[in-house]
Each structure stands twice: as structure tokens, then as C-alpha cells.
């Protein structure tokens, strides 16, 4: 398996209706680790994640992966801020990415059942996805994202609105994925979570990378007053 990492974003810019939402952003994504993307509401975290993943039309710049774009897309996965529920059972939701790749129904479902077990949804296999609770939906989305063993996984606030226990469970799954070699790039508002998980932090402010550092450096000695205020929990204008 050739590697899509390290990767690099150069001059990445997203504009809508003449307004620049993100960029220009230059960013290196190293081969390993877990990057936490932080920043105030509206800073452009969601937009940046989507742009990196290739879901946004770029006004300028590009993302360079370690392999051709088509193959690189297949080696990525994305967990959306609000999980997308296919109108199918949980197991068929999780199996769906494999089905798209041409894996047979029986095998795809067997592997999906295994993943459902790993995220704690073994009891919910045949339930329609729509009846799942918020935390269960996130876990299902996570299993669906991980089933193709992506080389990099983007997550957009996967634990927003979840209670502490669900949050810990999802963090445990992410740690496992990371240990299994998946690069993780994730937006969160939860500073405790960022401290627990991050190896690197990217602080986004007004659509630009305001600060990018190792987690230790970022939390111990933020280089910008905005990041410092953000970590303290102050309002960043």
C-alpha cells in the first residue's frame, strides 16, 4: 500500500459569494499523529476540513497527497458534524462503503458486524439508523468511516452534544484507530479532549492558520494572544 502521507496544502482558499471563508492556508500533514483543529465558531474549521477532503471547490491553492488524487480520495474518510444516516439498518450503513468498492453483501455485512461490535453497536445491527441516539449515530458514522481502513480520517466535532461517557468511548475508538496506523485530523471545541488526544494543534482564526504547533507547545506556551485566550476559555473576537 503506497502512502498518501505526508501531505501538504498550498495556498488553500475557499470563497463563497465573494467572501473568503478560509485561506490562504498552508499546512503540512505529517505521516503520523493526531491533529486537533481548534478555533472559535465560524473560524472556518468545517470548511477547511471539507476542503482538505476535497468536498469544497477551491478558489485557489491545492492539496498535494502522496499519491494521485483519485487514489488519495479512496484512502480518506470523513465523519461529518451531523452524521449522515442512510435509510437502512445500522449494519447496512456500516457495510455501505465496502459495498461501493464491490465487496460482496455477505462479506461486507460480516465485516460491518465486526466493526459494529468494536464501537459498541453489536445490539443494534438490524435497527434502522434513524432510531439511534445521538451518541450511537456518531459511533455508527465512525465505524462506517473506519471500515475501509483509511490512511487519514477527518472528523468534524464528533463528540459535540455527547455526554462524557459517549465522548470517552469515541475517544477510545479514535485512539485504537490511531494505534492501528490511521492519521487523524479532527476539529473540536472541547479543550479537555484536545489535551487528551492531540499530538499537534492547528489553531484557526478568521479563516487562517493562526498557530500550528505540537500539542505540548501549544497548550504550555501559546504563541499568540488569541490562542492563549482561547485556551483560557475567554471569548476570542
Amino acid at each position: 500500500m503506497s502512502a498518501i502521507l505526508p501531505a501538504r496544502a498550498e495556498g488553500l482558499t475557499v470563497r463563497r459569494r465573494g467572501r473568503t471563508l478560509v485561506g490562504p492556508v498552508d499546512l503540512d500533514i505529517s505521516a503520523e499523529g493526531l491533529t486537533i483543529l481548534m478555533g472559535p465558531n465560524g473560524a472556518g474549521k468545517t470548511t477547511l476540513l471539507r476542503a482538505l477532503h476535497g468536498l469544497e471547490r477551491l478558489a485557489a491553492g491545492r492539496v498535494l497527497w502522496g499519491m494521485p488524487l483519485r487514489a488519495a480520495r479512496a484512502a480518506q474518510a470523513f465523519v461529518f458534524q451531523t452524521p449522515v444516516l442512510l435509510r437502512r439498518s445500522v449494519i447496512d450503513n456500516i457495510a455501505y462503503p465496502l459495498r461501493l468498492q464491490g465487496v460482496g453483501r455477505a462479506e461486507a455485512r460480516a465485516r460491518a458486524a465486526e466493526w459494529a461490535g468494536r464501537v459498541g453497536l453489536a445490539q443494534a445491527l438490524e435497527r434502522p439508523a434513524e432510531v439511534l441516539s445521538g451518541g450511537e449515530r456518531q459511533k455508527m458514522a465512525l465505524a462506517r468511516a473506519l471500515i475501509r481502513s483509511p490512511q487519514i480520517l477527518f472528523l468534524d466535532e464528533p463528540t459535540a452534544n455527547l455526554d462524557g461517557r459517549s465522548m470517552r468511548e469515541i475517544e477510545a475508538i479514535l485512539r485504537e484507530a490511531r494505534a492501528a496506523g490511521t492519521r487523524i485530523f479532527m476539529a473540536t471545541h472541547n479543550i479537555g479532549q484536545a489535551r487528551r488526544l492531540a499530538s499537534e494543534v492547528v489553531f484557526l482564526y478568521r479563516g487562517r492558520v493562526h498557530e500550528a504547533a505540537t500539542a505540548e507547545a501549544f497548550f504550555d506556551a501559546p504563541a499568540t494572544p488569541e490562542a492563549a485566550a482561547f485556551i483560557r476559555g475567554d471569548i476570542v473576537e
Binding site: Q76, F80, Y96, L100
Partner: protein
Amino acid sequence: MWEIWQGIIAAARLLVTLDADLVEITLRSLQVTLTAVAIGSAIALPLGAWLAVQRFRWRRAVIATLNALMGLPPVVVGLVVYLLLSRSGPFGALGLIFTPTAMIIAQVIIVVPLIASIAHQAIRELWSDYHDLLLSLGASKRQRIATLIWDARRALLTAGLAGFGRAIGEVGAIMIVGGNIDHATRVLTTAIALETSKGDFALALGLGFVLIGLALLVNYAIHALSRTEREGRW
């Protein structure tokens, strides 16, 4: 008044005894309409899905046209199909005029805009839910359409039933292209029209009961389907 009561009693007798003419006409109606709805769905469902998924320059115009075609007067469809299939028409050599095939062609033209339009609405909604995920997973255009059609299948079944409801009760077009020939192209609606004008209310009413029964059945089915859909039982 007495005549009508007599008619109703005679109609009931025809139904209970499974009168041969009545059964034959009913079966032909079902055969023509079910074939037309099957062919129409095979065209309209992918068309509706494609219109929801594909962005192209004339998309809005096509959708507007489709919606306008829903209101197409069947008689006009019948006239156009007649002109195309009649002996002196461009497809006259096929010898299709006054055959069940001609009736099926006319009904397909009538139901495709209706089914496609309902399908398009349902799938467009689903597509806005699924869009990001399917793009993220790299689903091909074919896979997107297949996924949407499968996951919207209840709504699409409803669309097919609506098409059936429209086609089974339609008289203008099939009268023109079928000709209402006994034992060949006579169906429920054309037979009712004929028997009524002849004053034979027994058969007309008997056929009418069958037609009403079918229409009710279809509407119950649509109702049941949309209810299970709302309740989120897929």
C-alpha cells in the same frame, strides 16, 4: 330509477358469477396498464433520479417541462400516438394501431411525466441528505443513482401506484389508439363508455365496480406506504 336498480342487480350478478366478458376485459385492462406502468417506471425512475443528481444547463427547463407534461390531456396523447402509428403514419408499417401495444405506448407517455416528477421530488430530498457522504465515499454516478433509488423505494413505489391509478382510469387516449375492439382492445374504461352509450347499464356498472375497487385498492396502498414511511419503518 328502476332501470338503474335493475342494472346494479345485474352488475352484481355478473361480478359474483365471474362473467366471462367482464373477466376478460378486466384482465386486459390490468395487462395493458401494468405493462405500461412497468415500462414507464423503468424509464421514469432513473430519469427522476438522474434529474436530481445531475447538474446541467437545461435541468430546470427539463424539470419544468416534465411538470407541465403531467397535465398533458390524454386525448391529445392519443391523437399524437394515433398519427404516428396509423397506417399512413411514420410507424404505420409496424401495424401497431388498434392493438394493445399501441395502448401501452400511449399510457407510457401519459405516466412517465407523472412518475418521473414524483420520483424526482422524493429523490431530490434524499440526495440533499446523502450528498456529502456519497461524495466523500467516492460513489460513482451510477452508484449514487442506484443508492438513491433503493433507499427511496417506498416513495418510488408510491409514484408507480400513482401512475397506475392514472392509467387504469384513463379513457381518451386508449379509445383513440386502441379502437375499443371487442376481444382485442376493449378495456374497462372503453367498455364502460360503450355500454353506457348503448344503454346496457348492467355490464357498464359491473365494470365500473371493478374499476372503483382497483382505484380504492391503489389508494389504500399509497396511504399505507406513506404512513410506514413517515413512521420511519423502512
